[in-house]
């Protein structure tokens, strides 16, 4: 049986890139009466099941996936967690 690892990738817009969806959510929260929401940024969570047993190799592989496809590094940043 192949060992499996789970990876979780968070993709967020880089700081300074305007997030119109986050701004809309912030506005809606204010309309609902939630006070003091000073900022909202919306991103994506991508979970992967990997047929791998070595954490370092898996992390390097997922970072390569982020660079090539999962994030657009012109405007997005990402973090990788291996569990």
């Amino acid at each position: 049986m192949t060992a499996t690892l789970k990876a979780r990738v968070h993709v967020m817009l880089k700081d300074g890139v305007l997030d119109p969806q986050g701004e809309a959510v912030k506005h809606a929260l204010g309309t609902l009466g939630f006070q003091g929401v000073e900022g909202v940024r919306q991103g994506k969570v991508i979970e992967l099941d990997l047929a791998a047993s070595d954490r370092a190799t898996a992390e390097a592989e997922v970072k390569a996936m982020c660079e090539k496809l999962l994030a657009n590094t012109v405007i997005e940043k990402y973090t990788v967690e291996i569990a």
Partner: protein
């Protein structure tokens, strides 16, 4: 002039684009996204509008990794001409053939209307039959047309005269009102508006046909 019009799952302007090229006098071959080779003798590759791969992950991101995208990159690297309209523009930024990125419209709404464009350069195979500063009327229909580029990238586009079209009234929040940009070698154009939807009298105008006739004038002689 031989044009190759690409179809991805979810493309929906591919037939209109083929008809517009044929209307200008081009011979058109339709190419499926799984094809790893372009037809021999292709002068221009055209990537249509639509919702390739359902806009999953990011608009154009999955299409940019398809077999035909690798062929298009190789074609462009050899100096081939490539036109990307709407989703095709998004695919071209995702492949890295054009700079910048198309973000969600600043107003968060899908924008579908006919608008005025300003032709910012006549110095390209796509725009040579227009005069610089001419107004061209064409439809836009997109949710993610907010062209975004950093200050350094914008300065480079301006210095190199690579902004092809701007909006007379910005519908989506794009940087510097940009509607279309050229690659450094001026042979790749991405634009959000749809010239193929304003290419014959029955469309309500023919301003878009100027782009296809410009290409024919430039490439038929090449």
């Amino acid at each position: 002039m031989k044009a190759a019009v690409i179809t991805f799952p979810g493309s929906n302007c591919d037939r209109d684009l083929a008809v517009a090229f044929e209307g200008a006098g081009a011979a058109v071959t339709r190419v499926w996204h799984k094809d790893a080779d372009l037809p021999a003798g292709t002068d221009i590759v055209a990537i249509p509008g639509g919702f390739s791969f359902g806009d999953y992950l990011r608009c154009g991101a999955i299409a940019a990794q398809s077999p035909v995208a690798a062929a298009i990159k190789a074609f462009a690297a050899k100096g081939g001409h490539v036109l990307g309209i709407c989703n095709g523009f998004q695919v071209l930024t995702e492949t890295g053939l054009l700079p910048g990125v198309l973000m969600r419209n600043a107003g968060l709404k899908f924008v579908c209307k006919t608008i005025d464009l300003r032709v910012e350069t006549a110095n390209s195979a796509f725009t040579n039959l227009w005069d610089k500063g001419a107004i061209a009327r064409m439809p836009v229909a997109h949710h993610d047309g907010n062209f975004t580029i950093d200050a350094e990238g914008l300065a480079r586009l301006r210095d190199e005269d690579r902004i092809a079209f701007t909006y007379a009234a910005n519908p989506n929040g794009s940087t510097a009102d940009i509607a279309g940009v050229l690659s450094a070698n001026r042979r790749v154009l991405g634009m959000m508006p749809h010239p193929e939807r304003m290419a014959e009298a029955a469309h309500g105008g023919t301003d878009g046909s100027v782009l296809f006739r410009s290409l024919l004038a430039a490439l038929a002689l090449a």
